[in-house]
Amino acid sequence: MDYLLTDEQKMARDMARKFADSELKPIADRLDREHTHSPEVVKALGEMGVMGVAVPVEYGGGGMDYVSYALIVAEISRACGGTGTLVAAHNSLYCYPMLKFGAEQQKQRYLVPAASGQSVGCYALTEANAGSDPAALRTTARLDGDSWVINGEKKFISNGNIADYVVFAATTDRSKGYKGISQFVCDVRETPGYKVGRVEEKMGINASGTAELIFEDARIPKENILGEPGSGLRQMLATLDSGRISIAAQALGIGRAVLEESLEYAQQREQFGRPISDFQAIQWKLADMATQLDAAELLIWRAALLEDKGLPFEKEAAMAKMFASDVAMHAAIEGVQILGGYGYCRDYPMERHMRDAKITQIYEGTNEIQRLVIARNLLKKRK
């Protein structure tokens, strides 16, 4: 499918693939076992421009398009799903809202160091009682002189344990419902009253920390609100739309790893005197995987291309995210099956891919929510 890409997109992908294969793949198992990210990898990615792929060069980023971004996230996730989360959350959930909704001064102060990879950012929307329905959030922001005073707890925040910067959503006026929600940015090193709570024990993507963030009368400067007060929900939805493409790409990358390792194993494992790839039952699994992954990739490219062209892409991003994550999960289950008992054990990375793939069906909008988004778009058109 290479001929659908520009030379620059291919170069970006090849660069990411080379890096992922030589620097990330060899340590992915260790990162998973030790539940840790690699600061060296993050630093190197920063130097390559990968911590701000679609952020313009003048703000410290890579200055590339969203197709390139999707290609890069897929390559990184192919080597290490957890690092894929780290990169996708930082780029799509922190850099994106700063770039789109931040004022010039805010960009200089909070985007440049993140996009250039000196600091990691995170995005805090979810709360214990506000998951699929983020507008139900309870975190409050109250203006007091020159500061906003923040109170509340955020849950399941990717990169929360290592982030210097947080974009978060809070309500300034509960009586206004979703119209009272705004988004803010803060530097956690300068935010008294802020602390990182529990870091979750997870099934997979263990190279990515998922943390609780606690704001207890935390004070941030008055000017740290993003855009107009009350525009939080709109910003949130736009951010998630764009972010979904990166989760789709992450799922695709994990799926590609599954296919590659399944192909290799099936041709070398012999039972009944021949490679198991001789059995039609195995061949069909491989054929299905390859076809579904290519279809997912094309859906991803379509959504990214629409975003690059400035056209609406909400439905297409939701389709790509839903389909790619379902395909990746299905591939991972079949991958484990192809490896048999070996697939179930830790000596092979297959069981890690299965644990990593699962999250892509859940976060940045569960796949149930994606179907809701797609259907809403379809029905809107018919009215």
């Binding site: 030379d7 620059e8 970006a12 421009g49 060069v57 890579g62 590339m64």
Partner: protein, 259 residues
Amino acid sequence: MKSLVCLKQVPDTETQIKVNPEGTGIVTEGIKHIINPYDEFSVEEALRLKEKFKEGEVVILAIGPDRATESIRTALAMGADRGIHVNDPAVNTADPFAVAQALAAAAKDVQYDVIFCGHRAIDDDFCEVGAMLAEFLGLPQVTLVTKVEVAADKKSAILERDIEGGKETVEVPLPCVVTSQKGLNEPRYASLPGIMKAKKKPIDAKNAAALGVSVEAKLQSKEYSMPPERKAGKKIEGLEPPDAAKQVVQALRNEAKII
């Protein structure tokens, strides 16, 4: 500090190589190509020298078909300034003598303090081009270099090179030809801003006529063949350990002839 880096595009080390049915070469369709890894060391070293001296130029010189542009662009994305692409069917697949001739002709129009070549290209493994290029240009050459220290006046350099079991340090007047060996450095990855900048950097395309060279290859490759398939190992079974050991020793001595 100005460097001219000779760069060859070679099949990826990960690809499965197949000889074409005529036996005249390898099947190049559908295989991935990369920068010869030794040339990547050269690019990196040239970039470091330019950065250290805070001035200069890194020029990439490659011979090869259209697809070689990809490798030149990758070097430009790493930070090199411009490229020269010699693309001529007569030269692209010629022997090291003709290749060195063409490189020497192309080098005539470039200013340089050092010319870097890989000490070998991982595809044909001739290890000849660097040495011949130095001869054609009448320059001193230092092979298998693992460390480069250029004097502040850029008139000479101290180079460390691999020798059997150790290192040799030599001093050489500049300009000279250096052939890069593994260990010289850790090449950087291209960066995303680098990729976008590379798009706008010039690559000068030339053929043999434009260089004023008439290619006179000295070698003709006759045939390519794959190494014979490894034979299955031999199992010594059903014996007591002392007898089995005797058999193994005999096999090593008489059949494998390695002891």
